[in-house]
């Protein structure tokens, strides 16, 4: 099937992804450098309320922050291409290995909540649209508007308050129980953050899916299928559902990638040692190389999500297959 899509399409998508990547890391590079304050001044002020200028200057010289911006940028770009993402100011370790370790723990949260929220959001949305106007539809719509209107950290705190503080069922934070990282303990620790992340991204996917289902139900082929006496379940699963999922696909994949941003709050609240918590501390300390690395990974994840949707479309939609063949 992939071969049928045509390598040109894949190449084109890949190159546009690469372009987006370069643009994005360039923007983050310059934006981060226009932030007020710097690592050494912050650190010294925290320790002793006084930052000797010569110390700050020598630190800047050591890490190359005294070079002209274009030169820094070029060094940064060539570094990335060579696989050298720099060293963290704070930890002194290579950024890449720091991120790799934390990314693993973030994915432990992100993958299950992506799958859960895509499944639940699409499922509820499709059902709600299909049963448009019913009591279930009204209930789902109103409750999910409410869920979506409350910020994620509030749900995080609410979860902690009820399940950990009041009921004592779940741990307050962290990721392992002593001794060791047995799966049951990990599950207990991950449960609340995963549920919170899911809860916050279900509404967005739900609205999209519900609207798309409503649009699809107005299509002539649904009416035509009814006129042929097909059962309602056949109409739903063979005709309405596949067609209404199509426009939701891109947004859902992006939604899942955007959870990464949401995970900054969630990981901070639940003290989950992932990329979100790392981002938070790197922002606090002005750890430029680490921030650059994190944003680079964020960008990559979003581009990968987008690319996945782009490559999925031709597999599902014959109209897009024809368009690609015609190109």
């Amino acid at each position: 099937m992939v071969l049928e899509i045509g390598n040109r399409y894949i190449l084109r998508r890949f190159f546009s992804g690469l372009l987006a990547f370069l643009l994005s890391i360039t923007l983050t590079f310059f934006l981060l450098r226009s932030l007020p304050g710097d690592y050494m001044t912050d650190l010294l002020l925290e320790i002793g309320r006084y930052a000797p200028p010569e110390l700050v200057a020598s630190f800047k010289h050591e890490v190359g922050l005294d070079l002209p911006l274009p030169e820094q940028y070029l060094l940064y770009l060539t570094g990335i291409l060579k696989g050298n993402w720099g060293h963290s100011f704070e930890y002194g370790l290579p950024v890449f290995s720091l991120i790799r370790e934390k990314l693993y723990w973030t994915l432990v949260l992100l993958l299950p909540s992506s799958l859960l929220s895509a499944g639940l959001g699409m499922g509820f949305g499709a059902y709600s649209g299909w049963k448009n106007g019913s009591k279930t539809d009204a209930f789902l719509l109103h409750s999910l508007v409410f869920v979506g209107a409350v910020p994620s950290y509030c749900w995080g705190f609410a979860g902690l308050f009820i399940f950990s503080f009041r009921l004592g069922l779940l741990p307050f934070g962290g990721y392992v129980s002593l001794p060791g990282t047995e799966p049951a303990g990990l599950f207990r620790h991950a449960l609340l953050p995963v549920l919170t992340l899911t809860l916050c991204s279900v509404p967005g996917i739900y609205y999209l899916m519900r609207n798309s289902m409503l649009d699809t139900l107005g299509e002539d082929y649904i009416l035509a299928a009814r006129a042929r006496g097909f059962s309602e379940s056949r109409i739903l699963f063979q005709h309405a559902l596949p067609n209404s999922i199509l426009p939701v696909l891109t947004m859902t994949s992006l939604h899942c990638a955007h959870m990464l941003a949401g995970s900054v709050f969630i990981e901070t609240i639940f003290a989950w040692p992932g990329l979100g918590l790392l981002t938070y501390s790197a922002l606090e300390t002005h750890d430029l190389p680490l921030l650059q690395g994190i944003f680079l990974v964020d960008t990559l994840l979003i581009i990968i999500a987008n690319l996945t949707a782009d490559l999925l479309y031709p597999l599902i939609d014959p109209r897009i297959r024809s368009r690609i063949r015609g190109e």
């Binding site: 002539d220 009416l223 042929r228 097909f230 063979q238 024809s322």
Partner: protein, 310 residues
């Protein structure tokens, strides 16, 4: 007994602008092999009538009156009973054929699904498919079956939706503007095809194409703003049109001068007092403005809703 008998059918839709009276007190009968042309401009209620017959209207539509199919009122049928009738007995050839096909499935898959619904086994359905496609004029049925709807031309889509409706061998075909948007060659072919496939069944041919109706149908019914304004044998209607609206439509034909009727039909939320056509009627008299005319029987099964024939 008539195959289908529509008795004072009223269809209304509640909207924000008020109650839309799409179909108003329509009476129609159709015999077992009769071909009736239902003619009217957009918004005259002809498609709504067809959808009401199949009970395919949106749930908030209000239907009053009776639609008797072989003596059974369709408006009283349960959803399960309706499902058994739809397709099998009463088949719809929907408007906009290219949009009436699921864009994600091949033509073959949709035909197969429909044949399975019609009661064929998997083997029979596979065997029947090329035959069915050939019967609607496909020379190479296999390539048709492999095509997706977006790869088919307008004429091809029309043939495919006709094939889908024939999968069941229904006793009544409701064809909703099947010649719309086709070039003259394809239009002629579709008219011929519809004539062939309805040799042994009844046809309700909904159209604003008077000439196509004349070629296919034995009787014509003209609708204006939700109600019947003229009903009669094809020859009578064409040679001796009674209602000024019918006359206007005939004069609008390219062969008869191409004179369009001035003005536009009234909004269905605010229908005028008196005759609904009076504001556009060249022959309107004072009575037309104040009194709503009933459908007069002028003899020989020719009916007309006009005060000129009291």
């Amino acid at each position: 007994m008539e195959l289908i008998e529509i008795k004072s059918l009223k269809v209304t839709f509640p909207t924000e602008a008020g109650l839309v009276r799409s179909v108003d007190c329509v009476d129609l009968q159709l015999g077992a092999r009769e071909k009736l042309g239902l003619i009217g401009e957009t918004g005259s209620g002809k498609s709504v009538l067809a959808h009401a017959t199949l009970r395919l209207l949106q749930p908030d539509a209000l239907c009053e009156g009776e639609i008797l199919y072989q003596g059974r009122n369709l408006l009283d049928c349960t959803p399960t009973e309706l499902r058994r009738l739809r397709g099998r007995e009463l088949a719809l050839i929907p408007q906009n054929p290219s949009r009436a096909l699921n864009p994600l499935q091949t033509v073959g898959k949709q035909l197969f699904e429909t044949l399975r619904q019609a009661g064929y086994s998997k083997k029979e359905a596979v065997a029947k498919m090329p035959e069915l496609l050939r019967s609607v004029g496909a020379i190479d049925p296999d390539s048709w079956a492999k095509a997706y709807p977006h790869e088919c031309s307008g004429g091809m889509c029309e043939r495919i939706v006709i094939a889908l409706s024939l999968a069941f061998s229904p006793s009544l075909l409701l064809a909703d503007e099947p010649t719309k948007g086709l070039d003259s060659l394809n239009r002629a072919r579709i008219i011929t095809l519809l004539g062939e496939v309805t040799e042994n069944r009844a046809l309700l041919f909904i159209t604003h194409d008077l000439e196509a109706a004349a070629l296919l149908c034995t009787r014509l019914a003209l609708m204006y703003a939700g109600e019947l304004v003229e009903l009669g044998d094809k020859a009578a209607v064409f040679e001796n049109p009674l209602h000024p609206y019918t006359r206007g439509l005939l004069f609008a034909l390219p062969a008869r001068g191409m004179q369009p009727i001035p003005g536009r039909s009234p909004p269905l939320t605010a229908l005028p007092d008196g005759c609904r056509f009076h504001s556009r009627c060249p022959e309107a008299i004072a009575r037309c403005r104040s009194q709503h005319p009933p459908l007069f029987d002028t003899g020989n099964g020719h009916f007309c809703r006009c005060w000129l024939y009291v």
